[in-house]
Symmetry: C2
Amino acid sequence: MKVEIVAVGTELLLGQIPDTNSQWLGEQLAANGIGSHFHQHVGDNHERIVLAFRTALARSDAVIVCGGLGPTQDDITRAALAEVMNVPLDRDEEIVAKIRAMFGSRGRAMPENNLLQADVPRGAAIIPQTRGTAPGLICAVGLKVVYAVPGVPYEMTDMFERAILPDLLARQRDAGETSVITSRVLRTWGASESGLAEAVGERFEALAGDGRVTIAFLASGIEGIKVRLTARGDDAAHATSLLVDEESLVRTLIEEKLGDIIFGVDDETMEDAIATRMLARHETLAVAESITGGLIASRLVNIAGASTWFRGGVVSYASEVKFDLLGVPRGPVVSAEAAETMASGVRALLKSDVGLSVTGVAGPEEQDGQPAGTVFVGVAVGDVVEHVALRLPGDRPRIRSYSAISALDALRRTLDRLG
Amino acid sequence: MKVEIVAVGTELLLGQIPDTNSQWLGEQLAANGIGSHFHQHVGDNHERIVLAFRTALARSDAVIVCGGLGPTQDDITRAALAEVMNVPLDRDEEIVAKIRAMFGSRGRAMPENNLLQADVPRGAAIIPQTRGTAPGLICAVGLKVVYAVPGVPYEMTDMFERAILPDLLARQRDAGETSVITSRVLRTWGASESGLAEAVGERFEALAGDGRVTIAFLASGIEGIKVRLTARGDDAAHATSLLVDEESLVRTLIEEKLGDIIFGVDDETMEDAIATRMLARHETLAVAESITGGLIASRLVNIAGASTWFRGGVVSYASEVKFDLLGVPRGPVVSAEAAETMASGVRALLKSDVGLSVTGVAGPEEQDGQPAGTVFVGVAVGDVVEHVALRLPGDRPRIRSYSAISALDALRRTLDRLG
């Protein structure tokens, strides 16, 4: 059972919006052991949408189409589907009534173009809307199937979980496919891709041609490098067992050769690693940010329940804010001393147990005689006040993002060392 | 001249990383008047990569392949290209020497698998590396062409600008194609997609079938709704003239019916709109953030030169920080009064001219008797201290992101009103 994702919209081809739908759907399919070999993007053009659908149907068993179902005049997915199915479009009066009722309940007149959303290729099943106006469609094409859902992620994800995934799993069972794919990602910070490849090289070679377990490396930019382990088993228990054994082998190879660089698995972020440690210590954290300008704090508050351990922070972007609020002595503000004072200072100001700080040069110009990429992280935990000096590569946004994750990683390592 | 982008990597199909490369390339091609009708994603599998390349070559004139050129064992783009070209792979000793020299200059031994990167399909031209180890390739296939570049954005963008774009433009000239596409995006905050579609509906209808000018609506989630105007002219001057006229018409329709909702054009963000106004006023800004946890500050420091007008902020995530540092009276902290006090308080604490604050409930639980999505923005400019009350939809991250852009928009409107 191979599913192809086709995202429709000229804005995707022109690069005006990112295609987060294909990524999300790919994750969900993989998590449910459903394979996906291809994705496509195609613009709002009838002939080309039809060609993309036919290409997908020729090489995959099922197709999920996102986008082009809205109320505006460039939404033409319905007509393209009708052509591929070789059927006419019928206006569904039940959908018309629902759309009218939705506008009525908001006390608004319905723009007439909303009725386009009630057009249904003859023979298609409807996925009712719960979050918007355009219903989804399930269209049989021979023994294959095309699912069409709106491009709005909030509506798409709901329809996928409610209608598409159950249908796909039923089809997979009917086809007698029972092998299960499961995967796990080890997330690392501080090593190079070729360094990691070398560390697990012998294991990689040993697995070549095995077909059950694979290892891949994903350079994830500002989030470090991921090592993805994938196992295919006869059933869920078998796949999990293969995966657990492989993870243990690979973890040992990495830790022996590269040290404590694995900070999480799967969706665990560096801020999750911090949250776990702060909760275990029953302590609170405050941050003082210069070069990162609030990036560290905004990452930390993404963690549900952060209010139990995160007090807040100071964005000391102007030097005077460092002097006045954090007690940094007047003078150069990109230094180990400044970082340590900022960490102690924000801890005192916000009355937290732990202080974390970062100061540095985002560039392109140098500052205080230091080149772009010079970054100092300060950590204050109990009686320990220490710093880490970094030289980070890249342009302004990259240096800033690297600084944020490096600061969190420095805190993680200090907390683990102090125990 | 139609270019198809093929992004290679199982991690894309599994949704483990976003495909930022296709988006960036799409933007660059459009900006240079080069059409792109399809994108594909394909995994690290020889047969399927070959099929994706053949599919792309059948329906497009040129193909840009990103990824699969690295030093690890799952990098197999080179072999797939050789099959499509029907030629063998030769090891290029000049590239071998360069890779060895690069490792030597860093005082590191070269892992042997790096030599894979010196394999070149016979007859392909090399795009030399300046930022990494894997060179790019230019592969003629009949009268068409495949460009292969590494998937690392930092390396890909360099090769595109240095080698691929000049080659594509030369091919376009050789083919006698001279029509030029140009586009402009109007960025709005505060209107619905169907409301915008209705506002410009008559113009949209008038343009149907025109073929020279098109209007499209892009729901861009937390960044509002974009209205994209695209014009195709006989040359650059003609296309620009069509576009300028269209923009003037559409702006008037939107502003008459929906008010001052256009905050920028093209790449201009809401923080750009703030930067422009602060620079014009010769004033400084400080922010106090609760629900947004640093998100507003981290957006503001993305603007180059922010240090001339942005002093910094306080992330007052814990209520005590609001009481102790910002002077909010003890009691409920999600209120209009708290927002106004936070704005005045951070202005006094950081000695800025203007203060902006946001407090609210990200959910899922209610707080101070207020449901999730309740948000108050405070603005302090001169003698004016005022607030805006909002009720925002969505889950935690969405409410937080909407809060950040809504706060900046409230500041934009206050500054414009006060003049």
